[in-house]
Amino acid sequence: MNHLLRKGRCPVKCSDARHLIHLSVGDDNLPDEEQALGEHLHTCSDCRAYNAGMVDAMQLLHDLRNSTIVTSDRSVWRSVIGRIKDRRSFARTSRQPQREFHGGVVALCALSLVLAFVTIVQNLPVNDSPFASVPDGSMNVSAPTIPASRVQPQVVRGTFQLNPDGTYRLLFEPSANRNAVSSITPEAIPTGNDQVHF
């Protein structure tokens, strides 16, 4: 509707005018719409007759609007607050059995989790160390499978002792980390108490 009015003094068609009449009878037209309608009604008798019929129909609604409505004087608040309290107490009482049920379910779940954890732990493979327990001061020199990236250079103190069969026995200090030892090559064998880097 507004796009027609914005174009200027464009004549309003009867179909558009009737739409404006439906709004006009309730004072719902915009000022320019009301003006355009007025100009159309000035020239169209059919729409004038239609407008009169709409005014009569709207008068019925206005009469109904102004008619008396008999209602109770009592406020609904007392009933509403009573029902709110009833619903709260019902919600509280209906919740209690559910709490017991939930506790049992939680206990069962916890027990199941504990049993599963124990089973998993018991079935874990035992990790045998490649190094047998040896007395302080001596150790085997077999190489553990440690990735090269994890090997940390470490300085350990010890003493090489020549065995009767020509092999060397390396005697470490008690605090040395035996697990960090790799193979010892004959070239690396020092004499005396020199430091050995592995």
């Binding site: 008396t68 109770s72 608040w77 607050i81």
Partner: protein, 224 residues
């Protein structure tokens, strides 16, 4: 039981039962927001103040859809109860009044649909002889007063259009307020309003024509 007679006046343009001016309407909305906030924190007395503020208007709106005062009271209670239960979901940036009226209108329509469905079931359970109207009271509408006639014609208007017509033309809500209640744009409300008035006028004209034709029908039935 004491009875209050409420006369609808043109100055009843705001949502609440009192009659504030446009400046007061702003203050009204602010205090509604404060009461809603307190009610959400568990203060039922604040919600009680909201009930006292809106109950008269809500009852009146519901009565526009149905003549039964007791049912209107029950639906009003249900509307406030539902509003209380849904306070947590209420967006505090919106106004409480339109939201409350939306609940009330939806509840009213739900009730009317249930009644209509029950009526249909009753129709199917009856025999064909029971369904024919009693000739002694061929047209019970003859004995209705004008307001009841208008109410009956309004019932012929489809729901979405009837809502707009009732809120705007019978209750004096502005188009922006109707848009807030129905959650539609103002342009949609204006269009629906125009269509609703057209439908009402056509339904009224049809009724008038059937009324005028009745004496001829009755006389022809008597001759047979």
């Amino acid at each position: 039981m004491a009875v209050r007679i409420h006369q609808m006046t043109d100055s009843d343009s705001a949502f609440c039962s009192s009659v504030p001016s446009s400046e007061d309407a702003g203050l009204q909305a602010a205090s509604d927001a404060r009461l809603v906030d307190e009610a959400r924190r568990g203060d039922t007395e604040s919600f009680g103040q909201l009930v006292l503020r809106y109950e008269r208007r809500v009852i009146r709106v519901i009565r526009r859809f149905m003549p039964d005062d007791q049912m209107a009271q029950d639906l009003t209670q249900e509307a406030f109860l539902r509003a209380y239960e849904r306070l947590e979901q209420f967006d505090p940036s919106r106004r409480f009044g339109p939201w409350l009226f939306r609940i009330a209108v939806n509840l009213t329509y739900d009730h009317l649909r249930r009644v209509k469905r029950r009526g249909k079931w009753a129709l199917f359970s009856e025999t064909g002889q029971d369904r024919t109207p009693d000739p002694a009271t061929l047209d019970p509408r003859v004995h209705l007063d004008l307001s009841q006639e208008v109410q009956m014609v309004l019932a012929d208007v489809p729901e979405a259009y009837r809502t707009v017509l009732i809120l705007r033309d019978l209750e004096g809500f502005s188009t922006s307020e109707v848009a807030a209640v129905t959650e539609r744009s103002e342009a949609t409300i204006r269009w629906r309003l125009a269509e609703a008035r057209r439908m009402f006028r056509e339904a009224w004209d049809r009724r008038e024509r059937s009324f005028e034709e009745m004496p001829a029908d009755e006389s022809s039935a008597a001759e047979r």
